[in-house]
Amino acid sequence: MIAEAGLAALWLAAALALLQLMLSGIGLAGHKPNLLGAVRPVAVAQGTLTTIAFVSLITLFMRSDMSVLLVATNSHSMKPWLYKFAGTWGNHEGSMLLWVTVMGVAGAAVALFERALHRETHMATLGGQAAISLGFYAFLIFASNPFARIDPPAADGQGLNPLLQDPGLAFHPPTLYLGYVGLSVAFSFAVGALLTRQVDAAFARAMRPWVLAAWILLTLGITAGSYWAYYELGWGGWWFWDPVENASLMPWLAATALLHSVTVLATRDALRAWTVMLAVIAFSMSMVGTFLVRSGILTSVHAFAVDPERGTFILVLLGLYIGGALALFGWRVGAVREGAPFELVSRETMLVVNNLLLSVILGLVLIGTLYPLLTEAFGHKVSVGAPYFDRIAGPIALILMIVMAAGPLTRWRRDRLGEVSRRMIVPAIVALLVLAGLAILAWGKIGVLPFLGLIVALAVGVASVAPLWKRNLRRTPLFTWGMVIAHLGCAVGLAGMASDSAFTVEKLAAVRPGDIVEAADWKLRLLQISPVAGDNWTALQADMEVYRNGGSPVILHPQSRFFASPPTTTTEAALLTRWNGQLYVVLGQEADEGRWQVRVWWKPFVTLIWLGGALIALGGALALLGRERRGWLLKWRARAVTA
């Protein structure tokens, strides 16, 4: 019953999307902006219906309804309720339903809350959103039906991949999807504005909060994913340049550039073509990402069950939407007037350089990810991984950080190089001090990139708070605080990354109960190995007593877990967080004669990586709040004046 209701809701939503598209089309072609009044409720209804479909699927999973094929292949009645719930999107069809739900809800939100846009552009935007949704509804209904039944129902399910049975599954995919499907709104805005030729400051001001919201969620989603991989995979790595990870990074890079570009357009009425192009690219990268993950053309730990037929469907959608948007861009952007001029040394230039550097990194990640596909078309198999990406993206990212530090300290429109340099003196001094310190303490012991990374991180960290100097902090606008905290977050994240690369200590040992392992200034003693059991797993748990420098000992419990359905072994690392780093302990296999493999890492300041990510998101949230509040205040004041 519920499955049929869910499928019916999906069909209805698709029908409404078609209606939405047609109404917008008629409204635009016939110059009838009043049709917006009809389009908006349709969009809201569409969003509501997709939500109903999604909730239906969640209900089926929570009830472990084994007559539904998807539940039977991906769930199990013995799973903890959290993973029954989150398992809804731990598979291809469910996550695709999440995709269209976010799209529908985002469209509904634009219909409900967007007030500042010209009516024609608003209608065109909703039309664009409907057009994209249609393709994905079709994909879902015809090629990835989540509500398909099986007859007779299965006795029990095949279970959820044990690596996914983690709270991370409840947080990472939804946040990530809200982010990069949320970018569809920016895409639709851009398409709408190109259709109605209204690319101006007002348009940018309207689009900015939507971009910010999607970007904040995408930042959180990526940060959460990185931390989850870090503690789940058991080897202490936090980024692997895996094709699917890159698929989430590329929209983020585009969205970051878009964020800055839209601000320039909003405040200075410049960078029109850039803003529109970036908005198109950001969601295009999201769609390319979804294609790469679900088509199976690239090897990845994240890839869903592979089906070239589905891949072809998505490829056709890509061609339609991305090709269409880029063609529209080429056709219409000529009519978009150039914005206000600016000098060589100016904040506008800094932001253009920022855009360019982000785009270069984006391009390099894209090329690096797809290169093996290209060479394989010619019969040659290669691997492109961390050595390439680190070496290429790293230095450019460092230059970008320096621009990020100097940008807010440069005036709009026209400034002098000497002046800007003067404002950068304190950060420069910090850089020199760190350089000297590291050279004395760690010369030859750490790589070039981490070395430079530490210097840049600390100097840029200081520079990012520089805009607050000599200001009345209570009168500083919230969005300035947001910018400062977000930039500071970048520096903090970089410091964590560099510190982890430079100073991590690794110790592998085969120990018996009573043996002591030493790593950095930590001592770890294996007390015992004992069996334990959970809801749907059994494990061997090591009790390890750890302490350092005569501090009080703590007991850690790394586990080696065995799941029955599907049969898999996972490692559950034990993490101990201190102010200056994290101790990461893993229990491996039994070596021989009662000795056990133990892996220990001491990772100085590694948590700064994810703290940095959280700060970036926080900065974005403050900026969003600040802008929205200012908008309300201005409106309120205007109303008070006219009253």
Binding site: D242, V301, P341, S383, T569
Partner: protein, 136 residues
């Protein structure tokens, strides 16, 4: 309690198919005592791709073949072999695919040319933008 014991019995009795029951090779999970040599070995292992779980390096993989490769690499480094020589030996057997570190093969030159190309394009765009700004 009975269920716990039954599950534990299951843990110890079920053979894990597709993986050998033998213990790992001697240097699969044992570091070289000389830190400089261990650093060399680690650096090499992080750039050799695992043949079983193909999305990881052998340094990050639980597969037994990865463990055997790690052991072999460490033993050869202890014996004085250079990492690049070991990499070349592996590439001779498995092709460029096995190395995450791009080789000097001409098929990879565009990969190195790409950054220069993109940065050049970026500078071009920047120059155009600034000139336009100046002109008006």
């Amino acid at each position: 309690m009975k269920r716990l014991l039954a599950l534990i019995a299951l843990l110890f009795s079920t053979p894990l198919s597709a993986q050998s029951a033998l213990p790992p090779a001697p240097y699969a999970d044992r570091q070289i005592s000389d830190p400089a040599l261990e650093r060399k070995a680690k650096a090499l292992m992080e750039t050799i791709r695992c043949l079983t779980c193909q999305s990881q390096s052998i340094a990050d993989s639980n597969a037994s073949l990865a463990g055997d490769m790690r052991s072999q690499i460490r033993e050869r480094i202890i014996a004085g072999e250079e990492p690049e020589h070991i990499r070349a030996w592996l590439i001779e057997r498995y092709g460029d695919w096995v190395s995450y570190e791009p080789t000097a093969d001409p098929v990879l030159w565009p990969l190195w040319g790409a950054p220069l190309l993109l940065i050049g394009l970026g500078l071009l765009l920047l120059r155009g933008r600034i000139k336009k700004g100046r002109r008006s």
